[in-house]
Amino acid sequence: MLPDMQDEAPEIMEEDAPEVSQGPDHVPDHGEAMRIAEALLFASAAPLSVEDLGGRLPEGADVDKILQDLAELYAMRGVNLVKVAGKWTFRTASDLSFVLARDVVEQRKLSRAAMETLAIIAYHQPVTRAEIEEIRGVATSKGTIDLLLETSWIRLRGRRKAPGRPVTYGTTPAFLEHFGLDAIEDLPGLEELKGAGFIDGRVPSDFSVPLPSDADALREDEDPLDDDLLQPLDMHQTEAGEE
């Protein structure tokens, strides 16, 4: 509702008509001083001290009482009057800070390298970075693995029982969910890939597509991840050192 804009003041004849505060000299009642303090605190770009307010409120106003009453008035509201660093200001009620947060979902496409790496992890899991590189024939950047971890489609499974104890990667239930697979075993095999036209031409006799497994249980050649290496950062730093 708009405040009543009275372009032409009604002719008030009554002596006892409620007077609207008239200029700084008029000493308003407590309620009026509260309104002024409220407006000052609202409009101010920075928190106000008791002195700041005192200098702007009508002579003789009880600033502490005004602030106390205002703080009480707003205590249960969506906005509270709070004291920060000795000065007063309005702030969103702390239990409502979530309403000021906005989630923005960005749709991003996976790069070709990330897509290939993901596919190799899916089919060849548990698989180490070195094995991925061997299959792809190119080095896999740290960023690619990090990005895939961020999608939560892959996870660190354990460590290969081999020199250097490299980390093994596998897919997650989120991966299955995203790609609409009931189980990882539903990924098409060689014959199906050929049938669907993904693979054509002569296929060498030694070429095979593994039957993937994302079982939680570690394989025989896997060790559990050590606790201190659950941090992806540490893990990657270690790997980077090996290169």
Binding site: P3, M5, D7, A39, F42, A43, S44, A45, A46, T89, R91, T92, L100, A101, R102, D103, V104, V105, E106, Q107, R108, K109, L110, R112, M115, E116, L118, A119, I120, A122, Y123, I135, R136, G137, E150, T151, W153, H178, F179, G180, L181, L187, P188, L193, A196, F198, I199, G201, R202, V203, P204, F207, V209
Partner: protein, 266 residues
């Protein structure tokens, strides 16, 4: 426009009320219509009942007084004076038989309407000015709290993309394995370019082989490098850029740039 009127704020309100007689000075007016409106106000009657004839006379008198005082008047004021003189004569003379032209009464009421419109918009402007302006009378939140934006990346990928990436990747590898080895050849052009680059850096006799070492990292390349280099060298000798010699069959081939092309020869 002979003289642009001052456009910046002029305290008009004080002027109007306090003066018993209008000073002959157009500086305070926003054009002839504004002057007319002020003259009309001085008739102290409702604008609807204004005497246009009286107004015309007053305006003309004002302009004539200004001219006597040799005040420079903007053309707008003079044009209005001329028009009002015409209107005055029309209003005083008996109406001619109904012709094409609008009657004097029509012209007068059109002028009265224009004055009322100007008066009305003046009033509107005044009321707008009296409204509670944002930043003057009312204020917005002084310290708005920012909205925190949580970015959440959602990756798109279809099963089709996944399978295609896998198949393409695997297939590329086995296709690479069955393909024939590409023959590595050091072409004559490449040999010639390399030699031309070398020539500038040499001072004395050097064995050709020394230069070619860097191209012969792969043993398989050795024959093609030697053959192309020799051909290119022979060509450059023919052009007089190089001198070459070989002490005996199968001995290293020595080359030397020709400082002065006239010395060229084998």
């Amino acid at each position: 426009m002979a003289k642009p009127l001052p456009f910046d704020d002029v305290e008009m309100n004080e002027r109007a009320e306090s003066e018993p007689a209008l000073l002959v000075d157009v500086d305070g007016f926003e054009g002839p219509l504004d002057l007319l409106l002020e003259l009309a106000r001085r008739q102290k009657v409702d604008l609807h009942r204004i005497s246009i004839l009286a107004l015309a006379e007053q305006y003309i008198a004002f302009i004539e007084a200004a001219r006597r005082m040799r005040l420079e008047l903007a053309a707008d004021y003079l044009v209005m004076a001329a028009w009002l003189a015409y209107l005055k004569s029309r209003l005083l003379l008996p109406e001619p038989p109904k012709g094409e032209e609008p009657s004097a009464e029509d012209l007068a009421s059109a002028l009265a309407l224009r004055l009322r419109r100007l008066e009305a918009i003046r009033e509107a402007a005044k009321r707008m000015g009296e409204r509670a302006w944002l930043g003057r009378d009312v204020f917005a939140r002084g310290a708005p709290e920012p909205v925190i934006i949580n970015r959440d990346s959602h990756y798109e990928a279809s099963l089709y993309d996944l399978l295609k990436a896998y198949a393409v990747q695997r297939q590329m590898r086995f296709n690479a394995r069955v393909s024939l080895h590409k023959r590595n050849v050091w072409s004559l052009v490449e040999a010639r370019e390399a030699l031309e680059r070398l020539v500038g850096h040499l001072g004395d006799w050097v064995t050709l082989d020394t230069y070619l070492v860097e191209y012969m990292v792969e043993p398989a390349m050795r024959p093609t490098v030697l053959a192309s280099a020799l051909s290119a060298t022979l060509e450059m000798v023919r052009e007089g850029k190089l001198t070459m010699r070989q002490d005996e069959a199968f001995a290293p081939v020595w080359v030397k740039p020709v400082a002065d092309p006239a010395e060229a020869g084998v």
